[in-house]
């Protein structure tokens, strides 16, 4: 819920700066390893945008896959969860690189 309100606040900041009255579509980039549950985000987004410039806006969530650097393999490998082992060597010496994003990417407005 807090994150959905954060999204709305970013939208409202931009609405006052660049003078749009309605948001039709919102693109969010959400990493697979971030703490965001996309279904919960959709539900909360609808709830918090009621009565705002973003009421009724379509929420497009762009999923960013998780990747990590495996110290043993010396390579970037895909990971679906933080506790996943390296798909190459099975080790856990992984440093997450991508997939922690929570960004408002762009808006379609009128």
């Amino acid at each position: 819920m807090s994150l959905a309100e954060g999204v709305l606040q970013i939208i409202e900041d931009h609405a006052s700066k660049s003078g749009f009255a309605r948001v039709k579509t919102v693109w969010l980039e959400i990493g697979a390893l971030s703490g965001v549950e996309t279904e919960a985000m959709r539900f909360c987004f609808d709830a918090v945008t009621r009565g705002s410039v973003a009421e009724g806006a379509v929420l497009e969530i762009v999923a960013v896959p998780g990747t990590a650097w495996c110290m043993q393999c010396g390579a970037t490998v895909p990971v679906a969860e933080r506790y996943d082992p390296c798909p190459r060597c099975g080790g856990y010496q992984l440093q997450v690189q991508d997939g922690t994003e929570m960004r408002v990417k762009e808006l379609e407005v009128e």
Binding site: M1, S2, L3, A4, E5, G6, V7, L8, Q9, I10, D13, H14, S16, K17, S18, F20, K24, T25, W27, L28, L33, S34, G35, V48, V58, E60, V62, E81, R82, Y83, P85, Y92, Q93, L94, Q95, V96, E101, M102, R103, V104, K105, E106, L107, E108, V109, E110
Partner: protein, 295 residues
């Protein structure tokens, strides 16, 4: 409402306050609890840096790789590039806190755990053992009550309670305001006890030097796998209530293995506030932090 994260919807309260609306330098307007101290002098300056990434207009959008689904027959709207982190506001306040604490040589830690892991008991015992060796203050976060701040104050240490209302975590903005109420001398230790929750506090930087995650042996040993973001965000894990191990089936080795799967760099200490086991190591860790934070 505090629009940093929307948390609490204006229900956030810092002890001894009443509701008040104000405007920040960055244009954010919100209401929050506000302190009377004789007269109504109330200034806020956060100097929060603007979030990175401005915005620009583009009539169409050939620049990104995903499909835009426009309803047929409707003219596409104007596109506004944002590229802004959802937590940018909180991160701005956290950076301001961090700068302020660094300038004062304070060592700040953010204690996170499930409810009931024994955070407050551990703090009370730690404060007693530190026995005034360093200036020290505690910011207590809970949805309701000031019971925890009162427990801390009973040790003689200064403490301030933040009630997050419906909110499930402390954010950098409320912590910044709570800190204004404390009178913590340079070179001291700032202990922030977050709301008991292993999910959201992982995402909200408060400006601390380290997150310390507390897991008690009366919980499941697989908690690091169930709540991986929190264990990944923490630098130290304290396994607490280890005096109870003889009565439980908790597998310590397995728990540590799970924690290191999620965070290969996490440091682990086993402690008991009741028996005193491991307390020396934990206090030495704190003392080292205090020494390194001093200017």
């Amino acid at each position: 409402m505090c629009t940093v994260c929307g948390c609490g919807q204006g229900e956030t309260r810092i002890e001894g306050d009443h509701e008040h609306e104000h405007r920040h330098d960055d244009g954010t307007v919100h209401s929050h609890a506000h302190h009377h101290d004789g007269e109504h002098a109330h200034t806020h300056s956060h100097g929060v840096p603007q979030a990175p990434g401005g915005f620009s207009y583009a009539p169409r959008h050939p620049h990104h790789g995903h499909e835009h689904a426009h309803a047929p027959g409707l003219a596409p709207g104007r596109m506004v590039q944002i590229e802004q982190d959802i937590l940018a506001k909180n991160n701005g306040y956290a950076s301001a806190n961090r700068r302020q604490w660094k300038a004062r040589g304070l060592f700040a830690i953010n204690l996170v755990s499930s409810p009931g892991s024994g955070k407050t008991t551990l703090l009370v015992e730690s404060i007693k053992r530190l026995a005034g060796r360093h200036p020290l203050a505690v910011i207590e976060g809970d949805q309701q009550t000031s019971n925890d701040a009162e427990r801390i104050r009973a040790t003689g240490a200064q403490a301030i309670q933040v009630n997050t209302g419906k909110g499930c975590h402390l954010d950098a903005h409320m912590v910044g305001h709570a800190f204004e109420r404390l009178d913590l001398k340079e070179g001291g230790l700032l202990l922030i006890e977050n709301v008991g929750n292993l999910v959201c506090p992982a995402e909200f930087d408060l400006g601390e030097a380290h997150k310390v995650v507390i897991l008690s042996v009366t919980e499941g040993e697989d908690k690091p796998l169930k709540y991986p973001n929190m264990f990944a965000a923490s630098d130290l894990m304290l396994l607490t209530k280890v005096d109870l191990l003889p009565h439980l089936t908790f597998d310590v080795a397995k728990c540590l293995e799970y924690a290191r799967r999620v965070n290969p760099k996490i440091e682990v200490m086993q402690v008991s506030a009741k028996s005193g086991e491991g307390m020396d190591g934990w206090l030495a860790w704190l003392e080292k932090g205090v020494a390194s934070a001093k200017n």
